[in-house]
Each structure stands twice: as C-alpha cells, then as structure tokens.
C-alpha cells in the first residue's frame, strides 16, 4: 500500500523543551491513524511540523513520496494536506458558505463554481441550513464542523483533524465519526487525527501512535496499544502500573 505521509525521525526544540524527539510514523493510503498521548505530549506540534506552521530542527517529512520538510503552510494545503485547528479559527465576519468557499476557491477560480462546491460540502456536513449565517454566530459544535468543511473544500487527500471531537456531546461525536468514515466520497483517502476520547479512537483508527513527552512510546492497532504497559504508565503513572501487575 502506498505511503501517503512519512514522518521520519523528526525533532523540534522550543527553547529548553524538546517538543518532538526523533518521532517517526507513517500514514498509508486509505488509513486512519490517530496520535494519542497525555497533554503536552507533542501531538499538535507534530501536525504543525507536517503542515509547515512549525519547521523541524532535524528529520524528514514526506507527502506522497515528495520531500516537504520545512514547507510553507499554504504550499502544504496546495499539495493536498488539509487541516483543522485545535482552537477553532473560523473567519467570523464571513458567512458559513464564504468560509467554505475560501477552501473551494483553491481549485475553482470562479465565485459561482466555488460556491456550488462549497454547498456540496455543507450538505455533506449537515450545515446547509446555516450557509448564509455569519460564522461568528455558530455554536461550538457547528464551528468544529465548519472547520472540517473548510478543510474538505480545499480538495485535500490527507486530512489532519486536531481534536475535532473535543467539546462535542456523545451524539454529535457519533455523527462526526459517521462523517469521517464517508470522507473518501470527497477524495480524502487518509486521515490523521489527534484525539483524547478513546471511544472515538477505538472505533475509527486503523492504527494508533502514542506520544509521551515528545517521544513515540508505542504504535499499533488500538486494541493492542491500550494494553501496552508503557501506555498505561504514561496515562496513569507508575503507581497504577504496580497495581495492574498484581
């Protein structure tokens, strides 16, 4: 199976903090890979390193075989990497449709075509009723969906979802899970996610990469990874490890 994303021994230091320490992982075409780990493990930094918002100190990032290490964020988008932000960043003075049009404008120069494509994405995300509303007026759950819609609109092949489920109630979460499974309809063959809600990770991920304090400590199918002693330790501390061994 073709590698769509390769992250090879990438390190990034912020002052005294080694945010990412020689982390390697990959995403194959058709896979949904989740990064998990405690707060501050470096998950969002990994996404920022892939999309060029943060430049690596060492290591290589490849997308569809092409070296994209240290690329500019807008170039990453143009190559086909879409992303959402952990802290939602809609463009408040634009309408919901116009927000998504910014994505669809990437491959449609005409306003009418961009709007038509945006409407398709909005229907898919269940936001069509909100199309003419200002983005600033949306409740959080829908702003998260809008964030995803905008990324889909760019025509991405790989979508990086940074804590899309956080702050959603369980029912909304289920709806988003269903949508993520249908992303191939929009040409998005592979997904990278950062998520805390294990139930979501278990039901979506084909593979899980566990980070702790900037280092990769485990990798594999979700059902196996959650029983890995190192993962349990990272999440719960060594005290519980002793308990688990007993």
């Amino acid at each position: 199976m073709a590698r769509i994303l390769e992250f090879e021994k990438v390190s990034k230091r912020f002052g005294g903090l080694l945010a990412t320490n020689e982390v390697s992982f990959h995403v194959d075409e058709g896979e949904i890979v989740f990064l998990i780990g405690p707060n501050g493990a470096g998950k969002t930094t990994v996404f920022n390193l892939i999309t060029g918002y943060v430049k690596p100190d060492s290591g290589k990032v490849r997308f569809a075989g092409q070296d994209i290490t240290g690329i500019e964020p807008y170039q990453a988008t143009r190559l086909g990497i879409g992303r959402t932000f952990q802290v939602v960043q809609p463009l408040p003075s634009l309408t919901v449709r116009e927000n998504v049009m910014l994505g669809t404008f990437l491959h449609n120069a005409s306003r009418a075509e961009a709007a038509a494509r945006a409407d398709e994405v909005l229907r898919f995300m269940g936001l069509e009723a909100r199309a003419n509303q200002l983005a600033s007026g949306l409740p959080l759950a829908q702003r998260k969906l809008l964030e995803v819609a905008r990324a889909i609109g760019t025509g991405a092949r790989l979508l990086l979802l940074d804590e899309v489920m956080a702050g959603l109630n369980p029912r909304e979460g289920e709806e988003v899970v269903a949508l993520i499974k249908r992303l191939p309809e929009f040409g998005i063959t592979s997904v990278g996610g950062v998520e805390h809600i294990m139930r979501i990770v278990m039901s979506l991920a084909s593979r899980v990469v566990v980070l702790d304090q900037g280092k990769k400590i485990a990798e594999g199918p979700p059902a196996e990874v959650v029983h890995d002693p190192k993962v349990v330790e990272a999440y719960l501390g060594s005290k519980f490890m002793a308990g688990a061994a007993r």
Binding site: T51, Y53, E72, P73, Y74, T77, R78, G82, R83, F85, Q89, P90, L91, P92, S93, L94, T95, R97, E98, M101, L102, G103, F105, L106, A109, R111, A112, A114, A115, A116, A131, N132, Q133, L134, G137, R150, A151, G153, T154
Partner: protein, 320 residues
C-alpha cells in the same frame, strides 16, 4: 434586485458628477468637490490593503507623493509631457510598493503600521534634502495637466474617470476570489494559509493597485494646486486622511470611502474655517465616535438591516 438598485445609484451618482460643472460655476465649490473625489480615490486605494487585507498602513502618502513628484520633476528636468510624467509616477509608485511592501509586510500589527510611517518619512526627508533635484523643503511649481479656461471644471472632470476606475476595481475585488483571500488574511493569517493562501504574495498584489491609484490621485492633486512640496504632498496628514476616510465611511466596502471623503473633506473644510488649529482634534473625535458606535462605518447606516438579511437572504450567496 438589490444589485440593480446599486447599479442605478452608481449611474445617477456619476451622471450627477459629470453634469455638475455645467450648472455650478462657483470655482470654490468645484475645487471642493474635486478634493472630495481625489480623497475618495485615495481612500478606496487605501481600502485594498487597509480594509480588505486589514493591514493598517499609515504610509500611503509615500505613493501619493511619488505620483506628484514624478510628474513634476520629469516635466522640469526631462521636459516631458506632464501626462507622461503621470504614467511614470504610476510605475514608480508600484516599484516603490514592491520595495516598501517586501520590507514592511514582514511585520504584523502595530509594527507594520509604524514601519509604513517610517518608509513615508524616509521619502519625505530624502526629498527635503535633495535641493538640486527637488528644490528641497521649499517645493516647486507643478505642471498643469489641463489648460485654462475653466480649469476647476476640467480638474473635476479629470478626477471622475479615476474615481470610476478605482471603484470598478474595488467592486471586482469585493466579490472576487482575490477579495476573499484578502479578507481571510485580515481575519486570520493562519487560517488563510490553511486554505492555500500565500499572505505575503496576496498583500503585495493588493498593494500594487493601491499604490498606483494613490500616485495618480497625487499627480492630479498636485497639478490642481500647481505646487509640490514635502510638507504638502508628503505630509503624514494625507496618510492619516486616507485611512480615516476609509474607516469613517466603511472599511472593506466600495462606497464607504466615497461617503467618508464627502463627510471628512466637507467637515474639515468647515472646521478649518472656524477653528483653524483645532480641526485635528475634531478628526480624532469623529474617528473615536465612529469606531465606538458605528464600527461598520457610515455606509452601514444605509444598510441597517444587512445583518438580518444576511442570515435570512441571498446576500453573500451566489445569487446576491
């Protein structure tokens, strides 16, 4: 429907302007309207970068001054036709924009604003100190672009096509992909990049026409006064006015700066007559009041129900 009404309003507005000098023969009034138009052009040009892209430039007098001085000096030293000098000013202003833009756009927020002021001040000091070439601080006569008689009417007519051109460009930017990208940059550069926008490139692309129209306005303005000097066409007051006019009338709108220029130019004319030096205080107060109470600018008063309509209706959709 709404679009049709707008087109009618535009047609009536320009028809009124074109016929105005036919029945109004008071030179003072014609000069006043001319100034309203020139500053409307400057406000719209400023809006490209300051309103749509949200980059608060306070250095636009640099381009205004380049236009005025290029026309004057090429006529004086190279004996060019002044109209050729106007074209030279337009070209030089864009070269200047590329240089100034590629430096100042590295900075964000207040640092960007300060750097634009600095760029314009550097130009002013340079002009002031080149006595041989520019006549220094004293200034010099600017050539006439039109010949008497009826100079006031001719200058007014000369400003109309310029205003029409810059408004046409603004109307295009308002609905085009380019305009949306500029607005994305204004709202959030990180998000803009996440939809494939290269902020540095788009900002420069907006600054070029902004500088061009500022320079053309500067040439016309200087010629109408037959004078250029560092304290007139390179005065920071003009930068402030460009920004004020756009924000007062409505940033990132097509008609806002026109309205802003009418209000600001006329009120400052009145205040200048009655309170010679305090008129600047009144500028400041006016701006504070607008920012506090009508952040969308004066133009938003005419579109009072716009927000509601936006939620319910076709504005912002394909049909609108």
């Amino acid at each position: 429907m709404r679009l049709l009404r707008k087109q009618w309003a535009t047609a009536v507005f320009f028809l009124f302007l074109l016929t105005f000098p036919l029945w109004m023969h008071d030179g003072y009034i014609l000069q006043l309207v001319f100034r309203v138009l020139v500053f409307a052009v400057l406000g719209i040009a400023w809006n490209f970068i300051g309103g749509y892209a949200g980059q608060l430039s306070l250095g636009h007098v640099a381009y205004f001054g380049i236009g005025a001085y290029a026309m004057t000096l090429s006529t004086e030293h190279l004996h060019w036709n002044p109209w050729l000098g106007v074209i030279l000013g337009g070209i030089l202003s864009m070269v200047g924009a590329l240089i100034i833009g590629s430096i100042t756009f590295r900075l964000r927020g207040p640092y960007f604003t300060l750097s634009t002021i600095a760029a314009a001040e550097i130009l002013r000091v340079l002009v002031q100190n080149q006595d041989q070439l520019t006549h220094g601080a004293v200034g010099t006569n600017a050539p006439l672009l039109f010949q008497p008689p009826n100079l006031d009417a001719k200058f007014l007519w000369g400003a109309i096509p310029l205003l029409a051109a810059v408004m046409g460009l603004a109307a295009w930017i308002h609905v085009s992909r380019f305009g949306y990208r500029l607005r994305a940059i204004r709202e959030n550069e990180d998000t803009a990049m996440a939809v494939g926008v290269n902020p540095a490139r788009e900002k420069l692309a907006a600054l070029l026409p902004s500088a061009l129209f500022s320079a053309l306005a500067g040439s016309l303005y200087a010629s109408s006064f037959s004078f250029v000097g560092p304290d007139t066409v390179l005065n920071i007051d003009i930068s402030v006015q460009a920004a004020l006019i756009a924000m007062l009338g409505g940033a990132a709108t097509v008609w806002g700066p026109v309205l802003g220029s009418v209000v600001l130019t006329l009120t400052s004319e009145i205040f200048k007559t009655y309170f010679e030096h305090t008129h600047l205080v009144i500028y400041g107060l006016l701006l504070i009041l607008v920012v506090l109470f009508i952040p969308g600018g004066l133009v938003s008063l005419f579109e009072g129900r716009r927000k509601f309509r936006r939620e319910a209706g076709p504005i912002g959709s394909v049909q609108g």
